[in-house]
Symmetry: C2
Subunit: 265 residues, 2 copies
Amino acid sequence: MASATKKARTTPPYELIYWPSIPGRGEFVRLVLEATGTSYTDVGNASEDGIQAVLALKDENATTSGEGNPPAFAPPALKVPGEGKDGKALVIYQTPSILAYLGEKLDLAGTDEAEKHYVLSHALTALDLNNEAHDTHHPIAPHLYYEDQKDESLRKAQAFRESRLPKFFGFFERVLKGNEGEGNGKYLVGKKLSYADTTVWQVLDGLKFAFPKELAAIEKDYPTLFGSFYTGIKDEGGLKDYLASKRRLPYSEGVFRHYPELDRQ
Amino acid sequence: MASATKKARTTPPYELIYWPSIPGRGEFVRLVLEATGTSYTDVGNASEDGIQAVLALKDENATTSGEGNPPAFAPPALKVPGEGKDGKALVIYQTPSILAYLGEKLDLAGTDEAEKHYVLSHALTALDLNNEAHDTHHPIAPHLYYEDQKDESLRKAQAFRESRLPKFFGFFERVLKGNEGEGNGKYLVGKKLSYADTTVWQVLDGLKFAFPKELAAIEKDYPTLFGSFYTGIKDEGGLKDYLASKRRLPYSEGVFRHYPELDRQ
């Protein structure tokens, strides 16, 4: 793989537009860029007024996100100068769409058409789990405070822990088993890292933060997922450096929140 | 466009694997096949034991969905004989992944790379709205009865109607406005039909069934979306025939359900 410095000269100046200070959904995009040592600007965190770009993206009167691109429903968005229509910037939103785009550019999307779709499908499934994790503390509405939907959260979190986590974890365990001949329990698709791996990994990592007791109790039921996979991905070149760096933001008030009352009692 | 008969000879024998009797998430796949007059087998509805293929797909011990493909998390899945590895069948799951695949094959995914990603992003946003509509009657857990989560449903549905619908409808109205020069208020991306259009259309149609009073009250605030767009898509060649056919299944107990108490009072 080319070094970060070398790649920085041959790839476009990618700009991630996402809320500052939290990992959130922006983290899925950061991971693919970091795993491949790709140079990018994390606009929201790059300067004091970086948040202005995020707020502009969310302007509910805009019919474009700039340079002829359609408006974006919500952050994250990826801006790629020079790669849009007529040499202008391309702006795309929706995490899976950004991942599919970067996945092809950065060789994280499998080796053929079948693998390309496996990778997208597994990443979508991890992002569904991510959404369900978010809804454990916001089951009624995203614009209400947790405290104003806490009763519902207690019920939702219990169902999530008892019924949804085993379903998702069991599924990813089976995907790893089915691909063991090529992936050695370390990769979900084929023989090498894809954005399905980084996306599933990030959700597992966030769940370990949000539900530490639950995860400690059930991880052993999914030995490949929490063994060779979770540990292995963390040690991949670009990711190992990134996870130890200051660019890796701590969990706090984003998708993954640790409310002890929502965890296993 | 080639006739259905002609296409049937030149496209692979697509198989949709989805629950019988309901439109559900399978409907997004049906619409792209029907809009293009593409021959396919709706396995779940094609015979009495068609449901066996759906149940096999959901087998929670399987490490494959057959012929070397990974397991599928949930229906719908698309099976394409001859298009997988080594000439075997390709099986892909996750609605957006299936739509991206068929979109490229059936020329419903825009005309260049930028449009391809706009189409995917807008379809994903419509599918997010679809999920939120589902959660109005299942806010706590998908495996519990509506009656066992009705109090939470009443609260969730109110927030959905008052806060989420205007946000999504306002967004799609702006996308149509931003593309008015090419799409004439009828297409979300570029000059012609894409799977973003069929996907947004299906969600609007489902919402009209589930929340008839709410929709009747607010549609006028989104004149392009519910005017030229909603009406226009319904009249597209393949779709017009399909929507009048018996293959178009009625809404009942799927994603879109009409509970009068969840609608505007």
